[in-house]
């Protein structure tokens, strides 16, 4: 491997790491601001101009809080829980294509950390791994509410992974590839997958709400029933890690949805812009567009959170097993029929 390649990848990883950290940190502020706006309030506005430094203040507070490890818990697992949650939520962004290839000093530099052949499945795997952080943490706390939260998280994630996977299969049938990069390239201009897979997108959207444990599916941490859910016993920075993992997951889910269904870095008129801006600036504009799309999705997540109340647990299971799975299967069948008809024509 040449040195340039390593440097380039390293720089890219660093940049994406920092971007996702910043976005996740500012999501916490955005969440509170949006909650405020939707409720006719203004939200936090004291730390810095318009509350800009609120995430820093929150982070500092988290660090200085007392760390409590319950005596009856298994210490190693208690620490492993939040670490794992944070770790897995970082992994996913490795296969997201952030933009077209950039030409820097005669080299084509790809704005994607790695283009593995099974990128979509990789994301799926990382997401399914994310539940371990919650389960281990909840079990290690040795508290019945934490355990209940953990068990809920596990069953919820497994139930909603199935319709999610099925809706992805329908997408695969129309894109013919599993690689995130190829999927993004196919949606050049405004040829976005959402126009071919509206139902699939809806299912995927609902499932990603459930997988990221956001309201209306935040039953694992449902305060009214379970005190704090799986993180009841957590305090200080470990609690912060769980919260951060949730926001990172939201960021990842938004990135995946924008890439799979909303064209990723593609936007109408991108060829013209690329010609005008050259092969260095152009792809970065695309990256900006992708990040705008991600922001839009994050806003959607928050908007729904402050509108829709939490589901009851049996309603959640009914929705997953009795509505979404049959719908997703129907979607596969319809997609198959339509594709065959179009091929015959």
């Amino acid at each position: 491997m040449e040195l340039a390649f390593i440097i380039e990848k390293f720089a890219l990883i660093l940049v994406i790491f920092v971007i996702s950290l910043t976005i996740a940190a500012y999501s916490t502020l955005a969440e509170r601001k949006i909650a405020g706006f939707l409720q006719d309030r203004v939200g936090p506005n004291r730390a810095g101009p318009g509350g800009m430094f609120q995430p820093l203040a929150d982070g500092l507070k988290m660090f200085f809080k007392e760390e409590i490890i319950p005596t009856e818990s298994s210490t190693a697992l208690f620490i492993l829980g939040p670490s794992l949650a944070l770790f897995t939520s970082f992994l996913g962004s490795a296969v997201i294509p952030w933009g077209q290839d950039v030409e820097i000093a005669g080299r084509m530099v790809s704005l994607q950390i790695t283009d593995i052949n099974v990128g979509m499945l990789y994301i799926f795997g990382v997401v399914s791994l994310g539940v371990y952080g919650i389960m281990i943490g909840g079990w290690a706390s040795n508290n019945k509410f934490s355990l209940m939260g953990a068990v809920r998280a596990a069953s919820q994630n497994i139930s909603y992974e199935i319709p999610m996977g099925l809706s992805i299969i329908a997408l695969l049938m129309s894109t013919n590839t599993l690689s995130m990069k190829e999927i993004a390239e196919q949606q050049h201009g405004i040829n976005w997958n959402i126009f071919y897979q509206p139902l699939g997108f809806l299912i995927f959207l609902v499932c990603s709400f459930a997988e990221t444990n956001r309201t209306p599916f935040d039953l694992p941490e449902c305060e009214t029933e379970l005190v704090g859910g799986y993180h009841t016993e957590y305090s200080g920075f470990k609690m912060g890690a769980y919260m951060f993992a949730e926001y990172l997951n939201m960021f990842l889910a938004s990135a995946v949805m924008s890439t799979l269904y909303f064209g990723g870095y593609n936007y109408p008129g991108m060829d013209w812009v690329n010609e005008m801006a050259g092969s260095v600036i152009g792809p970065f504009i695309g990256m900006g567009v992708l990040i705008l799309k991600i922001f839009a999705f994050i806003f959607l997540f928050m908007w729904v959170r402050w509108t829709v109340p939490r589901f009851r647990y049996d309603q959640l299971m009914n929705l997953g097993w009795k509505i979404l799975i049959p719908l997703a299967i129907a979607n596969i069948v319809i997609t198959g029929i339509v594709i065959t008809i179009f091929e015959k024509l």
Binding site: F37, D40, R41, T307, V308
Partner: protein, 168 residues
């Protein structure tokens, strides 16, 4: 059982039709409503800089009143302490000496008068019990503090400022 009033209303629960069972229209409706609220006037009052008008019957911090000549009205009768459901008031009475007539209105006065603001529930019963119209809950919000002992307010904080007119 016979209903005692005719206010009971039996709601008809129709089975939901297809669109209602889909939930999505209802969710979108709700989302539109919340979105509209983004552009409504914000209700926030930026507290330390701006203060809201208190209502007529607001009960805040106590103040021990003076009469028209600037003398303390309280005669340490202890009725307020007796009436206080939270037992927040304590006092030590003393006799007025010669030459103190300008300070205290009655012959007996409260040398120490303390209200524990952590105990007080701001019910206003002390105000009602007082025969001398000496205590009123007409002050602002009791400020926050760090130590428990700082919430026991003595006469230095409770007694009204002497009238300006008297001083000059």
């Amino acid at each position: 059982m016979e209903p005692l009033s005719n206010r009971k209303k039996v709601l008809e629960q129709k089975p939901m039709n297809f669109w209602e069972r889909l939930y999505l229209p209802a969710i979108f409706q709700g989302m539109i409503i919340t979105f509209r609220h983004m552009f409504k006037k914000k209700e926030t009052v930026f507290y330390p800089e701006f203060q809201r008008e208190f209502s007529e019957n607001w009960r805040g911090m106590h103040s021990l009143k003076r009469d028209e000549e600037g003398r303390e009205r309280c005669t340490a009768c202890g009725l307020c302490a007796l009436s206080c459901p939270a037992e927040a008031i304590t006092m030590i009475a003393a006799e007025r000496q010669k030459g103190e007539e300008a300070l205290y209105r009655e012959e007996k006065y409260a040398a120490v008068y303390e209200i524990n603001m952590l105990r007080c529930i701001f019910c206003g019963l002390c105000e009602e019990a007082c025969p001398k119209e000496a205590i009123y809950l007409d002050g602002p919000i009791v400020p926050a503090d760090y130590l428990r002992k700082d919430f026991i307010y003595g006469k230095d904080k409770l007694v009204e400022e002497p009238l300006k007119l008297q001083q000059d």
